[in-house]
């Protein structure tokens, strides 16, 4: 076995620079160039003080013009913008969840989609009050999907999944009037509140931001996670690889990108069929390699071990290899730049969702009923495109790391069971983890999530923070592009335990896990909420007392703000490396970075110095330990 060594950000950058040379040859644009064109960014926008909600404006608040035309002050404007940003993210995740629910509703024994995890379906049925006795599993599935869909528009009551939270958390939500009602209602209500002439009181706007966030994390996202598990299987430990080196020059390379696993699952299924592999061989390739970018990649990596080609800011690199026959996308985080970029190469840019339609793409409309045919057509199109490759442009950086992924809450529980002792312990709990924290073997945990953002040296914040935290015996649960940064660096290789402090190293050895646990895509942050709730229940601590913090050092999307809001509203202090568009208001900024603690026992900390951000998290974890007397 070769010596284990992390891949450095410098090595990532050298590979990217080499690819940009290829891009320059063919006259391709790149985000690195566009960032330059867009810098400096508009300060009014960045501080959140620009209001363009009605056509009297746009109004921008300055010391000389402290109020908009309607008389709204800076706090109202920043608060409204913040809430709209949240609603955008909440709507996005939740609509993703809704799509999956519809797919589940289409599932059939002889259909494109089947129930792969009937146990989970049964647990959901019990939670939703769906009768299971003597019923066909697909009848149950359809009714569970329907009950789930009704959560989006239920006229009365609050979201069923919120009952999964510990009592104390639920009491806070009720006390603060932020327990979410119907999922769509919170988005609509947010847009209503921010309409011209509605709310301008920052407290009300931020309160609704929390509720709208919770309707995502404990509603739409959780729906996405749970129903995906029912359809495609609950993730289990699986080996995979990460970084561009997973693409194989001799093979037809299909890259899936986006967030919804329904399409990518089908593509993987067909690309793996003998028929398609034979077809690829007949076209001069040696086989077919499917790899992924962004959260679609996380979904298929977690369930199938499909390799991860890269994360958000690496999406253009995939095309720049010159070896990508097709980049197939569904929804979210897809650069419209891929259209023009693909035209510089032989690459087919295939859009599939009515939600994400883009110029310069081949649109193959994907739906649950015709999923099989659609996927087959896409795989065929990629195979037939192999011959169009310009061999002179092909360069795949030979850089990849091994990763072990698939740590759903269910899998974590199973792993923890392996270190229990049947003569003294019960199984099926989070107690081994709690005991490690109580004894000081582990200092605590950080849930690191989120995107890449050119404002931060890509991946550097994720990787450097993780290295620092694991060296300090802090275990990481990660998702989304953060997870991919970790995997690319090698932090999901079990051998990365050598980089840990003695405590985390021992835990990794005994439990047989890497120090950084991949929990899935960005909707799967809902898994982290369940995990925190389980830990709270088993330890007797409130969630806010657990030595656990959230972190999104390179976040960029509306979804990230929605996530941040539900993580904080669940009681988990959250650390950001990029300012939300809110620092223009001392009141809103003050609430987010402190005042929220009075409401939900947690708040945000924003620190752009990554080294300091790490120290702050460790300090907070130690502070929580001291408060618990452990």
């Amino acid at each position: 076995m070769s010596e284990f060594k992390l891949t450095t950000v410098e090595e990532f950058e050298a590979a990217t620079n080499r690819l940009l040379e290829t891009g320059a040859k063919v006259g391709a644009d790149a985000w690195q160039i566009r960032v330059k064109n867009q810098t400096p960014h508009c300060k009014f926008g960045e501080s959140g003080v620009c209001c363009r909600i009605c056509s009297m404006g746009p109004c921008r608040i300055t010391p000389k013009a402290p109020r908009g035309i309607c008389g709204c002050d800076v706090h109202g404007i920043v608060g409204r913008n913040y809430l709209r940003f949240t609603a955008g993210g909440s709507a996005t995740h939740s609509d993703h969840g809704r799509e999956i629910a519809h797919t589940l509703h289409e599932a059939a024994a002889d259909g494109n989609y089947k129930v792969k995890d009937p146990d989970k379906l049964m647990r959901l049925a019990a939670e939703f009050g769906v009768e299971t006795e003597g019923r066909d599993i697909y009848d149950i599935a359809h009714e569970v999907a329907e009950v789930g869909l009704m959560e989006y528009g239920k006229p009365f009551g609050t979201l069923t999944f919120t009952k999964r939270a510990p009592e104390h958390t639920q009491e806070i939500w009720d006390r603060e009037e932020i327990r979410p009602r119907a999922i769509d209602r919170e988005v609509s209500c947010s847009l209503h509140m921010t309409h011209m002439g509605c709310s301008s009181q920052p407290e009300a706007l931020i309160r609704q931001s929390l509720r709208s966030g919770l309707s995502d994390g404990w509603g739409g996202s959780m729906m996405g996670t749970e129903f995906s598990d029912v359809l495609f299987g609950t993730p289990k430990e699986v080996e995979t690889e990460a970084n561009l080196g997973v693409m194989v020059e001799e093979n037809v390379n299909i890259v899936v990108h986006g967030h919804d696993p329904s399409l990518s699952e089908m593509i993987c299924e067909y690309a793996d069929s003998k028929e398609m592999i034979d077809y690829a061989k007949s076209m001069g390739a040696q086989g077919i390699t499917v790899s992924g970018v962004c959260c679609t990649s996380n979904e298929v990596a977690m369930r199938r071990g499909i390799p991860m080609a890269g994360n958000f800011l690496q999406q253009e690199n995939v095309v720049l290899t010159g070896a990508c026959e097709a980049i197939v996308v569904d929804v979210q985080c897809i650069f419209p730049a891929l259209g023009p970029l693909s035209k510089c190469f032989h690459t087919k840019f295939i859009t599939t969702s009515p939600v994400a339609q883009m110029p310069d793409s081949d649109f193959i409309r994907f739906n649950a009923k015709t999923a099989g045919e659609n996927a087959k057509a896409i795989v065929k199109m990629a195979i037939e495109n192999f011959k169009n490759r310009n061999k002179d442009l092909v360069y795949i950086p030979q850089m990849k790391q091994k990763a072990v992924v698939g740590y759903s809450v269910e899998q974590i529980e199973k792993k923890l069971d392996t270190v229990t002792n049947t003569h003294v312990d019960v199984t099926g709990t989070m107690m081994p983890l709690v005991d490690c924290v109580k004894s000081g073997v582990l200092r605590g945990a950080v849930a690191m999530v989120g995107c890449n953002n050119p404002k931060i040296r890509p991946d550097a914040a994720h990787i450097e923070l993780m290295k620092k935290l694991i060296a300090n015996d802090v275990i990481l649960v990660v998702s989304g592009c953060s997870a991919q940064a970790a995997a690319k660096a090698g932090l999901m290789d079990k051998r990365a335990r050598e980089l840990c402090g003695a405590g985390l190293k021992r835990v990794c050895e005994l439990v047989d896990i890497p120090p950084v646990l991949h929990m899935g895509s960005c909707v799967d942050i809902s898994r982290m909420m369940v995990l925190a709730s389980r830990i709270a229940k088993d330890s007797g601590w409130n969630i806010s007392q657990i030595p656990l913090v959230g972190c999104a050092p390179e976040w960029m999307s509306e979804k990230a703000v929605s996530i941040g809001n539900y993580v904080v509203a669940t009681g988990i202090d959250t650390y950001l490396g990029v300012e939300p568009y809110a620092y223009g208001s001392s009141e809103v900024d003050g609430l987010l970075k402190g005042g929220l603690t009075d409401w939900v026992e947690a708040c945000y900390t924003v620190e752009q110095d990554i080294e300091k951000l790490g120290d702050l998290m460790i300090d907070k974890i130690e502070e929580k330990r001291a408060a618990l007397g452990i």
């Binding site: 003569h423 005991d435 490690c436 109580k438 000081g440 200092r443 402090g501 003695a502 405590g503 050895e509």
Partner: protein, 709 residues
């Protein structure tokens, strides 16, 4: 109080005691006074393994205190707690070393204190084979004497090696419980500092068998964590020093199980609270992932390898059977499947209760086996295990083999209901267990009727033994087409490979060519694999391309060349559990051989442990080689350097043991009569000058041979 703080406090206390002990010793003896434990080549082994520095004087002991202090970090991280645990063990070792200054014997029976290198090497084979599945270190007094005895017995009955520290030793003494190295119950000392002798055993195991470079902390920790299956049972109330030692144990990979429920947190698989003493055993084995091979044999006494070394004295004996005085025999006979009724046990003649107390009797047992893959060549392999099987019965003692065995049954065993058919049960169960791949059916007939025994011995057994001897005599390295590799030891000594040939048995003395062949047959993907010998490089050296390829493969590239017959050129490596070590003696052009049991000095100026420390762990050290006792009489013994005529010195006991075969070989090879008389021993010389004078007087052939170097 937080767990880490308890560890830090305990460490501080132990360190302060060590500091005082060393300073007191310096005041009494001066800094140049020699320091060390008896019968070890590793001085203060824990300190040596951790740092690579041997402490030999009080001055060095003082310097060690400075090092120990430097690793006593006080951060709130497990690393600091682990290091403090190690520092506690090292401090304890210094405290203990001070007790041994000036040849003092600080421990009296039942306390044993320091374990010798020879003892550790003796544990090697059983640890490797799993005969000793684990090592239990029990600290402090159990809640009651009964619980103390029951716990120790439970481990012992599974074959585990049990080390005791503190009050439990008095409890066992009070109950009259038999202790000692031979029954695998090793009372170390009264104070918690004496636990360092157990840590020392782990560290020496790593250096002896694992070839861990002293000072390579990381490799040491990985070795003990992954390969040394020890665990700790600590009875409450625990004091801080004990908890600090526990941190050290956990660092090395040894979980701590305690009934002290007051101590704050638990740590999965590492620090486990178990209020029920009766569940300590099962809880501990699970925590250390120790699997016990279940041999549920229906007999009224225990059956475990821990009883293998038990000795039954005449006064404790109900009856004995003695092949040297009356007709006895033990025999495996291959039969047709139809001739055997499986699990049938017949006793022909009187049973023990019909024999007089303290009487000497005849016994002959014939174990009939049948199986599709059974070969007569396996008969002696199975038969040779009888000694081990019968010896593992609690209260039964067995020596010798073939028609010269001696068996004693203790009064206790008899009173517990032990009868002759139980010997049959044991033989049946073990043969079926261990040889399941070749034995499908097994039946045992036990004769005690003197006439029947005479008949079996003279008309059945002896002709078979003679036939076998004839066959063995024809089994030479040249007469077979394959040799066997043996990597049984790799669980312990990861880069060692034995090459077993008919004339060179494994260095542990436990694996002959026939054993290896049988092992290969029993488990085709197991530790013994065929090695062809089709591409010789140098037949005199015993160098073969095939052999080199095999050792490269099975040592994962650690070894490139091995010769079968030379100790100077690419000698075969050792795991560390060899019966004997030979080393070159330059003044006489010969070699000196020492066996593990020999405790004295050799003319090389080294004791057995010191010679043994020159090799082992799978490394090649030209001029030193570990080997089995039986190899000494082989025509292939260092054939490349001239053969057995190079042997100039052996301990008396070993010389007597090998005399017959060695003399026969010398006669055949060189025409020398009574060659062993020419070989020196400790009664002749323990230094090279006296030895050479003796050899010259005897006209020993080595003196006129070419120098070996």
């Amino acid at each position: 109080m937080l767990l880490f703080d308890i560890v830090f406090n305990g460490n501080d206390t132990m360190y302060a005691e060590a500091e005082k002990a060393v300073n007191d010793a310096v005041a009494k003896y001066g800094e140049d006074k020699a320091v060390g434990f008896p019968d070890t080549a590793y001085t203060l082994a824990c300190y040596y393994a951790e740092t690579g520095t041997k402490i030999t004087t009080l001055k060095e002991a003082k310097e060690a205190l400075t090092y120990i202090k430097s690793i006593m970090k006080r951060d709130r991280r497990l690393d600091a707690a682990f290091n403090s645990g190690v520092a506690t063990a090292l401090s304890a070792e210094l405290i203990e070393a001070m007790k041994y200054i000036d040849g003092q014997q600080p421990y009296e029976e039942p306390y044993l204190g320091h374990m010798t290198d020879a003892q550790i090497r003796e544990l090697g084979v059983p640890l490797v084979t799993g005969d000793i599945p684990g090592i239990a270190v029990i600290i402090n007094a159990a809640p009651t004497v009964e619980e103390a005895c029951a716990l120790v017995k439970s481990y012992q009955a599974q074959g585990n090696f049990v080390c005791l520290v503190g009050g439990i030793i008095e409890q066992l003494k009070e109950a009259g419980y038999k202790t000692g190295f031979n029954v695998r119950v090793f009372p170390i000392g009264e104070n918690i500092s004496s636990v360092c002798h157990a840590v020392s055993a782990a560290c020496r195991t790593a250096m002896i068998f694992g070839n861990i470079t002293p000072g390579d902390k990381k490799a040491l920790q990985e070795y003990t964590f992954n390969r040394f299956r020890a665990f700790v049972n600590a009875f409450g109330p625990l004091d801080e020093k004990t908890v600090a030692c526990g941190a050290g144990a956990i660092y090395y990979g040894f979980p701590v199980i305690t009934n002290d429920m007051d101590y704050t947190p638990v740590v999965p698989k590492s620090l486990i609270k178990q209020p029920k003493v009766e569940e300590f055993n099962a809880t501990s084995l699970e925590a250390r992932d120790i699997k016990i091979k279940i041999t549920n044999i229906d007999i009224p006494v225990a059956f475990a390898s821990a009883f293998e070394g038990e000795i039954i004295r005449r006064k404790d004996m109900q009856v004995e059977f003695d092949g040297s005085r009356v007709d006895c025999a033990e025999l495996v006979q291959t039969c047709e499947m139809t001739e055997i009724e499986d699990h049938k046990i017949t006793v022909v003649g009187p049973d023990v209760d019909a024999m007089e107390l303290g009487s000497k009797n005849s016994i002959a047992y014939v174990v009939k086996v049948a199986g599709k893959n059974m070969q007569p060549d396996f008969e002696p392999v199975i038969e040779r295990k009888f000694h081990n099987y019968i010896n593992c019965i609690e209260g039964v003692y067995h020596t010798g083999q073939r028609d010269m065995q001696r068996i004693r049954i203790s009064i206790d065993a008899f009173n517990a209901g032990f009868r002759l058919k139980h010997i049959g049960e044991v033989l049946y169960a073990q043969v079926k267990n261990e040889f399941e791949a070749v034995v499908d059916k097994c039946e045992v007939v036990i004769y005690t009727d003197p006439a029947e025994c005479s008949k079996i011995r003279h008309e059945v057994a002896i002709p078979i033994f003679n036939k076998r001897d004839d066959r063995l005599a024809t089994l030479t390295d040249e007469s077979v087409s394959v040799y066997y590799s043996c990597i049984l030891c790799q669980a312990f000594s990861p880069s060692h490979v034995c090459v077993v040939t008919p004339e060179r048995l494994g260095l542990c003395g436990a694996v002959s060519w026939l054993d290896a062949k049988a092992t290969h047959q029993l488990d085709p993907n197991g530790p013994c694999q065929e090695i062809t010998k089709e591409r010789p490089i140098d037949e005199n050296l015993g160098a073969y391309e095939d052999v080199d390829e095999a050792v490269q493969k099975y040592s994962q590239g650690a070894l490139e060349h091995v010769t079968l017959y030379s100790i100077m050129q690419d000698p075969m490596t050792s795991c560390g559990c060899f019966e004997c070590i030979c080393g070159i003696e330059p003044f006489s052009n010969g070699v000196v051989i020492a066996n593990r049991e020999y405790a004295g000095m050799t003319p090389l100026g080294m004791t057995f442990p010191e010679m043994a420390s020159m090799t082992g762990g799978g490394v090649q050290t030209p001029g030193f080689m570990g080997h089995g006792k039986h190899f000494i009489g082989s025509k292939k013994f260092m054939k490349a350097e001239g053969g057995i005529e190079r042997i100039v010195w052996m301990p008396k006991e070993l010389k007597e043991f090998v005399a017959d075969r060695l003399n026969a070989t010398a006669k055949e090879l060189y025409g020398i009569d009574n060659f062993t008389d020419m070989i020196g021993d400790e009664s002749v010389a323990e230094d090279p000058e006296t030895l050479v004078a003796f050899l010259t007087e005897k006209g020993h052939p080595a003196l006129s041979l070419e120098p070996m170097m």
